[in-house]
Symmetry: C2
């Protein structure tokens, strides 16, 4: 056992394996429509949660906790919460964008037979505080790594994920009886889908365009562009 | 173009493609030793950054900014910063863990020919505020999704990534001339490696053990265990 624990895997990914990883990254979408009514079976749901559970975490803290929301009444209550938060968000939207905002499809809460609420236990003793002294937000960042693992695994399985951030997290926590010391990191729609859009919905709907990578990469100092990145565009 | 923009991809991943995605998720490690001295070529570095750039982001905000740190003097200065932060962290460590803490290998800052500092522009106008009204931390969470994309792509390419959180983020920002309104989300070591450990380093070194998934999954309410998860363990 000691030998296997220090074993280093030297087998490289094949080109086909690399392509599959990039395919999942490239074709992952934030899905807000086109969900099917068939619920996720327990085994596939656990497979996705196992992928999340393999994420890196500060100090091996594994601070993620998952609440699978299958109850129809709870899902409807979350949707009501969205409607309320969305009215406030729409009112807070710049006037020249408000009409466009009202046209956007921003969630699929009533269409997906299950939701996934992902919370972070930032005060857990697990990990014995390692790595959290100077950058305490690494706990919730570990939870986001887990979410991205799940998102990519879901794409590979033909399952859509939609991150709904237009919610009042305190009210959702109360609804799901989540203790106050836990942080609600993400509330996700999750379900089988008709397919995956070629473009992000917000680009298709002309809400925002994707940025070129080159403008976001610097070398050594933040004020120094990375010349190769610009040439490569 | 309109047709292609609303196209839904219906082609499912093959079993081999799914396996490759799960392999990257399962074999990804937080690498603190065994880095090779050969620098990353620009094309492979840009390939990894492109994978990061395909991450989901709130409102299509894409708030991530990347600083590639290649300069040896800067890398040494970051290592000095680590040493200082680590002395404080070790002092803050529970007394019964301090000796074990001192034995841990927590970074590979002097071994990797390049570092990657990842910051978040939370006040960017991009995305027009969409999704950030009720949950403002979704901006930095988008950046973490990008980091996890990069981490998995790196694993597929045989490149190690190590997230160093024992640093003073304000001092690092000053060193790299990063404007004060940007948030330092992650400081990463990045480089070719000898191989990838079978176990997480912190498990191998008996700092912490991995948790069973079943205890972390609930259904509908936080106080309701997910019975199938428990049975499946």
């Amino acid at each position: 056992m000691v030998e296997s624990s220090v074993m280093k895997s030297k087998s490289a990914f094949t080109q086909d394996e690399r392509n599959a990883v990039y395919r999942a990254i490239r074709e992952r979408r934030d899905v807000r429509s086109g969900y099917l009514s068939r619920p996720l079976e327990d085994d596939i749901l656990l497979k996705l949660l196992s992928a999340a559970h393999m994420a890196p975490s500060v100090g091996l803290m594994q601070p993620w906790r998952f609440v699978v929301v299958r109850d129809a009444g709870l899902r409807a209550a979350v949707h009501d919460n969205f409607l309320c938060a969305n009215r406030k968000a729409e009112a807070a939207c710049p006037a020249d964008r408000r009409a466009a905002y009202g046209q956007l499809r921003l969630e699929g809460l009533l269409d997906t037979p299950q939701h996934l609420c992902v919370v972070c236990d930032s005060i857990s003793e697990r990990g014995h505080g390692l790595g959290r002294n100077s950058m305490p937000r690494t706990a919730s960042h570990s939870v986001v790594c887990a979410i991205q693992n799940l998102w990519l695994a879901a794409r590979a399985e033909g399952i859509g994920v939609g991150w709904v951030s237009i919610l009042d997290p305190s009210a959702i926590k109360a609804l799901l009886k989540i203790p106050s010391h836990l942080e609600l990191v993400a509330y996700l729609c999750l379900g089988y889908v008709e397919g995956f859009s070629a473009l992000p919905d917000l680009e298709r709907d002309e809400w925002e365009q994707r940025e070129e990578l080159a403008s976001l990469v610097r070398v050594n100092y933040f004020d120094q562009p990375y010349p190769v990145a610009e040439a490569g565009q």
